[in-house]
Symmetry: D2
Subunit: 409 residues, 4 copies
């Protein structure tokens, strides 16, 4: 009889295949789970491999729609950008994957969850905090943090040997000298040769963006429409997209062609280590720019300032740190959604050689910007002399401070 039933986050790769086999060796029954969050994958091959190795079942769920709508679009509403640069691609996928996995575990009667995350990364935290938050009683097996596992598998060679010994099929393609994680929002590249932060990534590394140097000489102009801060329509020279996933994928396609959205940074992981990461996020880069631009037209200045300082900053950190299922995320997201009621309108952009540019923006419903009032010559609301009073009152405090410090010298 099995020691218990494990639901394993299984990718079909070497690591999780060995973990699957090892769990079986340890006496567990294993259900494998793989989420479709838009990555390139031979789904049938993964299923076949899992079953071949000995999984009781392989469950694959298509989470693209919820990933785009609940996570990616929320990040767009937020203008989320971790440490001023990273668009959170991996962090955004983890919550939907974790939620789906634990649902499968519950339906399949599993007592344990397992994953192939390493002990120094963010993903172990993102997965496990999600698991514990959704089902506090769940038990987790993290092989890369178990000495029995780590002592046995000290490097890639040990895994390859184990695969050979136990008949795990191994793809003949040579491993790349970095690790990757792909989903609709981005592909991430880290570790290996990238650990030298002064090593420029090789051009053939990027899979979701073509090299800007080889991008077309002609820009592609598009229009994105937003409703309450959510992208609802994309008009390209060829077509119109209103389905969330299709719209997102089309932006990825356009962004890929024009080489938009490459980021190469050193970032601060939750556990306190710095790490170097490269990411290409075509659709997210374009959407963030468009949304940010539209907010300039339609969002109140003070609401925006507060939203930036508290909601955006914190929501982004929570997502990065795996706190999606925490009450503080719900708290700030409630604010975010409230702030977006008026973010309605459309933005025209040009995509060209590595970047997107705003060409113009408009809103048929929002009226905070007024072309007449912005003009230099007329304003009903106040007269020029009012500005004098405004400035004089603002200066009271500064004058007092100045006199005080002058007296001090």
């Amino acid at each position: 009889m099995a020691k218990g039933r494990v639901c394993l986050a299984y990718s079909g790769g070497l690591d999780t295949s060995c973990i699957l086999k090892w769990l079986l060796d340890e006496g567990y029954d294993v259900i494998c789970f793989l989420a479709n969050v838009g990555q390139e994958e031979d789904w049938d091959a993964v299923e076949k491999k899992a079953l071949t190795i000995g999984a009781k079942k392989m469950v694959i769920e298509d989470l693209q729609k919820e990933f785009v709508e609940e996570l990616c679009f929320r990040a767009v509403q937020c203008n989320a950008q971790y440490e001023g640069r990273y668009l959170l691609g991996t962090s955004l996928a983890r919550p939907v994957i974790a939620r789906s996995l634990i649902g499968v575990a519950q339906r399949e009667g599993c007592d344990y969850l397992s994953h192939g995350c390493t002990a120094k990364g963010n993903d172990q935290i993102r997965f496990e905090l999600a698991f514990y938050a959704i089902q506090p009683s769940i038990k987790i097996i993290a092989p890369w943090r178990e000495s029995r596992f780590c002592d046995r598998f000290k490097g890639r060679n040990d895994l390859l040997n184990y695969a050979a010994e136990t008949g795990i099929p191994v793809t003949s393609t040579k491993a790349k000298p970095w690790s990757m994680d792909e989903n609709l929002a981005h592909c991430s590249y880290e570790a290996g040769i990238l650990e030298d932060p002064d090593q420029t990534p090789p051009n053939d590394m990027w899979i979701m963006t073509d090299d800007p140097l080889n991008a077309p000489n002609e820009p592609t102009n598009i229009t994105i429409s937003f409703e309450q801060g959510i992208p609802i329509k994309l008009v390209t020279p060829q077509n119109t997209f209103t389905d969330s996933v299709e719209l997102f994928k089309e932006l990825n396609r356009i962004g890929k062609v024009h080489g938009i959205g490459r980021i190469d940074i050193v970032e601060n992981r939750f556990i306190g280590l710095k790490s170097r990461g490269c990411y290409d996020s075509p659709a997210m880069t374009i959407l963030r720019l468009a949304h940010l631009d539209l907010e300039g037209l339609v969002l109140d200045a003070q609401v925006r300032s507060l939203r930036d300082q508290f909601v955006t900053h914190n929501w982004t950190t929570y997502l990065y740190n795996g706190l999606y299922f925490a009450p503080e995320r719900a708290f700030v997201e409630n604010s975010l959604i409230f702030s977006q009621k008026c973010v309605n309108g459309e933005v025209r952009l040009s995509c060209y050689k590595g970047a997107a540019y705003v060409l113009g923006r408009s809103s048929s419903t929002e009226k905070l910007y007024s072309e007449e009032e912005a003009s230099m010559d007329s304003l009903d609301n106040f007269g020029p002399e009012d500005a004098t009073g405004f400035i004089k009152i603002q200066s009271i405090r500064l004058k007092k401070h100045s006199e005080e410090w002058a007296g001090r010298k």
Copy 2:
């Protein structure tokens, strides 16, 4: 005998020339002041024009060095970006201009300051708050807020007629359908046809950046070195620059060629109106990216987060709103400088067709990033099992929350 002595911020343009003449008509003696903050200007012509119209004196001061070192580089240390986009060019120049102007006024025994700012803009506030803070007793004449002046000059035609009547020389060049303000940090474009936020700016508008579509097909690679967050060296394929102003100008030159730093936004002015502004800021755009990148390598995560949320956000707002000489700016700037002690190192960048890209970064003195520790395989400081404890403790609160809300349903 004159009613008093006015120090006028004089540009040589139609507006301030008419103001100069009007102040003379009103019975004041006028000293004209013009700051050199890096704009293109025929300085001798401006002086001649002022004296021709009747100024007692024309004072021109070269403020480029203090502008770059005290303001632009501080903004770089801060990663300053108003409302997520605008690099503050005009806002940065105002404090040094105001300080210099009031110094001239004091040396020349002026009782009044005057300027040509309009009643709906930010600049009147930036200038006057600076004036009042530096010399609380100063009196200010703002013609565009005085009904005697405004009633007389209702539009450009009234100014042209007045110029013709009073012999003010007028340049024959046709006025552009927008207004511009240029300094080392940027050129701004607003008003006129730009007041329609959906009107794409014409390509010949931009003066500090060439069109990315016509930029060279070859990138230019450069290296920028920072000491305590301040750019101290620029290495280009041709040359090395260590003088602050030369370094800054060379970045403007490279950025211009590659079309780097165009921004087109709708922003929130201090007085509560939205306005559309376009800006091209080549050097500032490149420097901001380089500095932001280096901070990833060398700055502590928590200090960075706090600095972003409080110092960067607030310093930027204070500068935009004309509060440079306010105690709150001094307060946050003190924090900023403290945070930059460790921002030492160099960043390699590539400039190409509208954007700059980071190629790599390094620091010979800072050690928060460690290539060995970042690697997946070794870490002295902690063992894999520690991450388990970390996650379990982090999950305590989430589990409690989850149980509570589960019970609620």
Copy 3:
């Protein structure tokens, strides 16, 4: 025919009586308005006086319920305390008064609003920003900012003379050497002899609190119940109160007897001046303490921290500065309400000689606090070794920092 119809905020005092008369002299028709926000007042006498002087109508509205429920209880949910001390009494009343006044003005067909606020205070701003926000087209007559009025009435004597000349009835009671404003939330005392910040207020100044030195030697113990952060029940030794206004008044009564809620501060007004204010706020002081205490038991740590830093700080400032009808107030209040869903429970307090003390707190619905888990001996969720991992991971960053700085010396 009248120049227009004015709705005047009328108190029956000398200032607004003179303003009423002056407005009539100026040729306006005047509707007087007085809000009942719980102050002591001879309502009939005020009405009679207004009509005697010449008002077309005197409208008195009882706003106590909306004042307590919409403003005071919101401040309690927020733990609002301006600059760490002031419980906002006057600031809380202004929005309901302004809203009611403008409603009367609209029903009575008034084109103008008027009030007796001075030019250096906060109240002019609170009223007028409310008026403009509710009805942007409204016109405001602020006599104390009009030179025609100010030149005529340079001090109290001018008002007394005018009253005598024009037959305005004047109460024979000698004016107190400070000004007062009373409502359910507090009574404020400022100006006059209080302008010396080192002058201890005389004991007979306070009207809503008895002197703690003369308070009963026996404490009064009470229990306050909250639902979603709102006080819903008060149990005293004699009685139980569930009606919002009655509950509030009973707390004022108990607090008065025990001398609870006196505050004496120097505060920063919106216009940039410092001013000295004294306030006694019995009910608000007790409710704030009780609410703050209950939150300790039931509110998540991170939500609380964010709420404190972002919602409480800003909501309080907005109220103080008269920005109740601004979008930023709505934005943070939406967050506040979200945070209060779990603030359910009851707090037992003792009132004694100037202060309230918490005796205990409990909640039958909220379970974040667990007596068993708090105990030193048991916890299912995690084992003692988990804390080791938590601390070790937390220390990674500190060790790196330490090593870096050690190397620096």
Copy 4:
């Protein structure tokens, strides 16, 4: 030969006496360390007991001065109050104790540090993060987190039996049904019967404050002077104190007599659990009030607001969470000190029956408050009409918002 040399934080109590003995049993040499942070203690008896049990040496260091000056006064400058109530007494002592202990360990050639903190508290974190930050290579033995120790000592009885068996002298006094920690800043009471948050603490629990019900009927009036936010002089009816420790102790004495500074709360521990704590902090309570009051008189409004939101909130959290030796604490403390340059002046207070009251405040050097300017009748800086302009400009944004939302309905 010993396994190594341990420096143990030793209190002389049952727990650390058993730990001392157990470490010796385990084969370590042990140096005992006890800090004098102002607690009541029979120092000779502790030393004798440690040596009797088998310590190589007992080191006692008097840290009162650095505790008061570097920690308590910094907290006063900060108005530090965790979760709006707790004055941080224990959190403030930990850094000086940890720093001193590790200094002893280094001088005595210890490889290990040990302490008696439990696995669910804050103190283990505060101590260990300090240890790791000061000496990253240090090794820590935390017996209450080691299964070998915990399995053996499951409760107080096991400790008593062990003491009896091994000849550890045990005080005959019956253990109190709560645990206590005393230093100059406060005494804390938690655990045991206090774990029921609705259980009112017994009156004989509090050791640093007498019962307000029995306090003198006569208030004691005192004056505290501050320089740059630091208390530098205390004048009482009998005496004047300028030495930091004496001043602090005298305030504790006065506060004790009048029963000032009792706090009873449920708080959020760093590890995510809620716990109930009671604290009496006489001197800190009085000093915080006096400092807060003086800041009203002398600190700029905007600097104060930023300091409150950013420095005070975060410094307090860092101290509570044991992050004193973290770069973020240094970062905010640098800001704090900058903000305090102008906090010079004196505050007169009255102490009476459980609370302190401000009687008045003054500053001979700071001039931001001006009695003349605060008065209703005069102000050079601006005229009444300026307030009109100020309000009108402030209303621009509110009007736009109002129109937009009106149109929406």
